[in-house]
């Protein structure tokens, strides 16, 4: 590594286009490219470029992990616990091992092991065909000693509830992307309270309040339902381990594998091609990954392990269930004086069932108290899921603020204008209100017929996250072709496409001219694709590397054109003297002057210009959070209880938007996942047996193509002068506010507030009848 390059001052675009666009001076290193002008002045960035892998995906040519089949491939399958809580007395795998198709049997839970949920892995086999693997599982004999169990949040909190973990045993801390406090007290199944974020004196705040409101809110367990199941193909060889995995973090899985199996990083290669959806649960190696690799090591053959849909529902993670009691104190003008949040949540046998920093950070309030508890139950482990914590947190807080507005006789937008310090959300409210027709909103109960219509809104809050441990390489080859390389993965968000755009912009080429090679740890280690951090992490070094290669090209070409390198520019596929465009070389011809077959630059993510607000290990948060405001128009049939969401207007910000088409697509998905969470989804556990009652897609309800709302997406161009691209993520802020926006619209339609998710027809009818 070289010494840090000297700093110099540059002026970057700053502000919201259409509101006030100015400049901000930042100290930047000489290694960094010059400021990028606003999108209006750019050729490729900010334009609706078509997804570069779309053709492969519409023709079936795209290769997903489940499609990988090296010669000699064995199929693995897992035997899973049929009981919610049991001790393994004895396990006999002899008959399974003698099955002619079986190549290896692995005991995961040996005699004496405690199993804590239905679906926990007990044993694994690798066989020549899936049918042989399934037959072998049926030959494994296990003697279970059943133990008392608990599968509901309320019962688990009682002192005489069966303990999920024995007294004195620390439960394993889990949750990539969810920070989990260490060393919290634990009584029975209840771990906590976690009080991080508390500030001021809420007792004094409530004493100062003219109005106090209080409500209890419940949110359900939601499962990720990635259409491609969790899948891995592991190929252990003497020279090293190659793994294909449907993962959100190739570089992280490589680190885990090296550590788990005592290998050097250089002996482990993790790859992902097309990736069939990732919403938080595909962030780590996970037990099934370790099992597949162990089976490959044991057999000396490649092993594929693909979850069935039932296994997906049981044991790949889920959004934890929560119960929140929220109290707000406010002055007559709406100014908040106190926020008090008590939360009990369950991530099954795991931790991380909190409700994030939503109530803590969204609004100005000097006094804030929070107590969050993880409650253990005998169910599959929770994990990060799109907007973890803040999604259930928003459902409570944004309804409470709506209720406060009603109590104070204030318009919900006017109240937020008073208490929300974000200029970005203020503009988002303004644009969204105009688009949804907020001025036509009428008081609850105005409609005379059985179908009541209403409009509601809710806000988003998510960190502008960055993985500082991010690198990539850009290569220019002598024939003028350009490659961009990183281990970063594209979950279907379009990461590969925006990388092509960023590199193409720097070289004044078309995105199609850039070959993007990603999803392979043989390339420089990229960021994880969780926490909405891919774009913010990888696009700045991609531009920086491209710019550095461009400077190297200029140094080669300058003598040919008879000028100094600083006088050269790239435009429309030409290298030219900036002041005299007649003196020029075609890009390909210029590359032909390279002294070697290729030149390349590897760049790492530099710190945000002006620094981060918070930095921990490999991750950091920008000084300014991401916002977002959703407006929903609903029709509630008060005779059937059906809520129909007719329109959603989603207004979002993500710094510099790199590809408005891809952003629009991802926001559509965020809104639909939020709508599905609001109205339909619910993993149901059977109390007498501890089994999941809806472990497939026929009984676990997801929003489908019928009864879709019209979704309008508006995206701000918000420049902050923070990096070489100034671009941030969109995935999570686009889903967080949908459910409370719908709930607030239902209140506006009916005058009844629904505080439990999902808002099913029976829940609506019960609320209308006053039976909440």
């Amino acid at each position: 590594m070289s010494d840090p390059a000297p700093l110099h001052t540059e002026t970057f675009p700053f502000g919201i286009v259409g509101v006030e666009l100015g400049g901000v001076a930042r100290q930047v290193s000489a290694d960094e490219p010059p400021p990028l002008p606003p999108n209006a002045a750019l050729a490729v960035i900010g334009k609706p470029v078509a997804r570069i892998d779309a053709r492969a995906k519409v023709t079936g040519a795209a290769i997903f992990t489940v499609d990988i089949a090296p010669p000699g491939l064995l199929q693995a399958a897992l035997l899973r616990a049929p009981l919610p809580h049991a001790r393994v007395r004895a396990i006999d795998t002899g008959a399974a091992a003698r099955h002619p198709g079986v190549r290896a049997v692995l005991v995961v839970a040996g005699a004496g092991t405690i199993l804590r949920y239905v679906g926990e892995p007990v044993a694994a086999v690798a066989a020549t065909t899936p049918a042989a693997a399934a037959e072998a599982l049926r030959l494994i004999r296990i003697d279970y000693a059943p133990l008392p169990f608990v599968v509901d949040l309320g019962t688990a909190q009682q002192v005489d509830s069966p303990p999920v973990y024995p007294a004195g045993q620390r439960p394993p801390l889990t949750g990539a992307e969810i920070s989990v406090a260490h060393d919290l007290p634990m009584v029975g199944n209840v771990r906590g309270p976690a009080r991080q974020g508390s500030r001021g004196d809420v007792a004094r705040g409530f004493a100062e309040a003219a109005v106090t409101i209080e409500g209890a809110y419940r949110t359900q367990v939601q499962t990720h339902c990635c259409m491609e199941p969790h899948a891995i193909v592991a190929d252990w060889r003497a020279e090293g381990l190659t793994v294909w995995m449907s993962t959100q973090f190739t570089a992280g899985v490589r680190r885990e594998l090296a550590r788990e199996f005592g290998l050097k990083l250089s002996q482990v290669r993790v790859k992902v091609g097309a990736m069939g959806g990732g919403f938080g649960s595909k962030s780590s190696l996970a037990p099934y990954g370790r099992i597949a690799v162990a089976l490959s090591r044991q057999t000396g053959a490649p092993v594929r392990l693909v979850h069935t849909r039932a296994e997906e529902q049981l044991d790949t993670g889920n959004r934890p269930e929560t119960w929140q009691r929220l109290r707000l104190g406010a002055r007559r003008d709406g100014t908040l004086t106190a926020i008090d949040l008590l939360e009990y949540g369950t991530a099954g046998v795991g931790t991380g069932a909190g409700v994030g920093n939503f109530a803590e950070a969204l609004y100005t309030c000097p006094n804030f108290a929070i107590s969050q508890y993880d409650v253990f139950i005998n169910a599959g482990r929770g994990s990060a899921m799109r907007g973890p914590g803040n999604t259930p947190g928003a459902f409570a807080m944004e309804q409470a603020i709506d209720e406060l507005a009603t109590r104070l006789g204030l318009d919900p937008l006017a109240l937020r204008d008073r208490i929300d310090p974000s200029p970005v959300r203020r503009e988002e409210r303004r644009r969204g209100a105009a688009r949804i027709g907020w001025e036509h909103r009428h008081p609850p109960g105005t409609d005379s017929g059985p179908v009541k219509r209403g409009i509601g809104m809710a806000q988003s809050l998510w960190g502008a996250n960055v993985q500082t441990n991010t690198a990539c390489e850009v290569r220019l080859l002598r024939d003028g072709s350009v490659e961009m390389l990183s281990s970063v993965q594209d979950l279907g968000t379009g990461s590969a496409t925006i990388l092509a755009q960023v590199v193409a912009e720097e070289f004044a080429l078309r995105p199609a001219d850039i070959t993007v090679r990603i999803g392979d740890t043989d390339f420089p280690a990229g960021p994880p694709s969780y926490g909405s951090r891919t774009t913010a992490s990888i696009t700045p070094p991609a531009r920086t590397a491209a710019w550095q290669v461009k400077q190297a090209l200029f140094r080669v070409v300058a003598p040919v054109l008879g000028v100094t390198p600083a006088l050269l520019a790239l435009r429309d596929g030409w290298v030219m003297v900036a002041a005299d465009p007649t003196r020029r070389l075609a890009f390909r011809e210029a590359a032909g002057h390279l002294p070697t077959d290729q030149i390349s630059a590897v760049a790492a993510r530099s710190d945000d210009y002006g620094g981060f607000r918070r930095q921990m290990g490999d991750a950091a948060s920008a000084r300014t959070d991401l916002g977002g405001v959703h407006f929903a128009a609903v029709a509630v049939d008060t005779e059937t209880g059906t809520i129909r969401v007719e329109r959603v207007v989603a207004v979002q910000d993500c710094g510099r938007p790199i590809n408005p088409r891809l952003i629009e697509s991802q926001v559509q998905g965020g809104v639909l996942m939020g709508l599905s969470y609001a109205l339909l989804e619910n993993r149901v556990l059977d109390r007498p047996t501890g089994h999941v009652m809806n472990a497939n897609l026929d009984h676990y309800k997801l929003v489908g193509p019928v009864d879709l709302p019209e979704i309008e997406v508006l995206v701000l161009e918000n420049y902050q002068g923070c990096s070489a691209t100034d671009a941030y993520g969109i995935a999570e802020p686009a889903s967080i506010p949908t459910a409370p926006a719908i709930a607030n619209a239902v209140f506006n339609a009916t005058g009844v507030r629904l505080t439990t998710l999902p808002m099913t027809p029976s829940a609506v009818l019960a609320a209308l009848a006053g039976r909440t």
Binding site: A50, R51, D53, A54, R55, A56, K57, V58, T59, G60, A61, A62, I63, F64, V66, D67, A69, P130, A131, H224, C225, C226, M227, E228, P229, A274, M275, G276, G277, F279, T308, R309, L491, G492, T493, G494, R661, L662, E664, S665, Q666, Q668, G669, G670, V671, L672, M673, N696, L697, D698, L702, G704, P705, V706, L708, I711
Partner: protein
């Protein structure tokens, strides 16, 4: 629903009822009959007296994307498994494996079916078209073109099935209404949330008049 067996059957093509599919006693083109040991199936066999084949693997020929593909299959293998496994046509995707999501949709004699819900041995002489067989040479089907233009693709896992249902719709109803497109994809699930773009793309493909 797109994920159903075609109702129309040719005379030489005995109808496959849900009952016969469940019992495992479905005749396919009069050449191949698979028996299960279920009492119900035994009873059916006494009436029809078809030859008993199985329980071991069977050699069959599938007509896939206009090519005759000899393949050896277990009687219990679904069409989706055979396409993805021995035939290496991995464009067809399995997501739920029980007919609840339509990711595995292919055409049987031009009709969209969930290939996870039909046994390979029951296909018989019917023409199977998979996503790999939809484009003609290098020319994409107008629905495929429109999916690209309207960004009706995100992760792409549900996409092949979605494309097959939309393309089949345009073959049978060249100028569908938005409601008809919704109906055609009503059995499909997409977690990325591409539905609105899929509908827009299919209507746009119809407007080109080439569907």
């Amino acid at each position: 629903m797109s994920a159903v067996l075609p109702e129309a059957q040719t005379p030489s093509q005995p109808a496959i009822s849900r009952r016969s599919l469940i019992s495992g006693a479905a005749a396919t083109g009069g050449t191949l009959v698979i028996m299960s040991t279920a009492p119900e199936a035994t009873h059916a066999a006494e009436i029809a007296a078809p030859p008993v084949l199985g329980p071991g693997a069977l050699a069959i020929v599938l007509r896939v994307n206009d090519v005759q593909r000899p393949v050896t299959v277990e009687p219990c293998a679904t069409l989706a498994e055979v396409l993805r496994g021995p035939l290496r046509l991995t464009g067809t995707k399995i997501a739920c494996n029980r007919g609840a999501c339509s990711a595995c949709t292919v055409w049987l004699d031009g009709h969209p079916v969930a290939s996870c819900m039909i046994l390979a041995v029951d296909v018989g002489p019917r023409a199977v078209i998979t996503i790999e067989g939809l484009a003609r040479g290098g020319t994409l089907h107008p629905v495929q073109e429109a999916f690209i233009a309207h960004d009706a693709v995100q992760c792409g896992y549900c996409t092949p099935g979605m494309v097959m249902s939309c393309a089949a719709l345009l073959d049978h109803a060249p100028h569908p209404t938005p409601a008809e497109v919704q109906q055609a994809i009503s059995g499909h699930l997409c977690r990325c949330g591409t539905y609105n773009h899929v509908i827009a793309a299919t209507l746009a493909a119809a407007a080109t008049g080439r569907g």
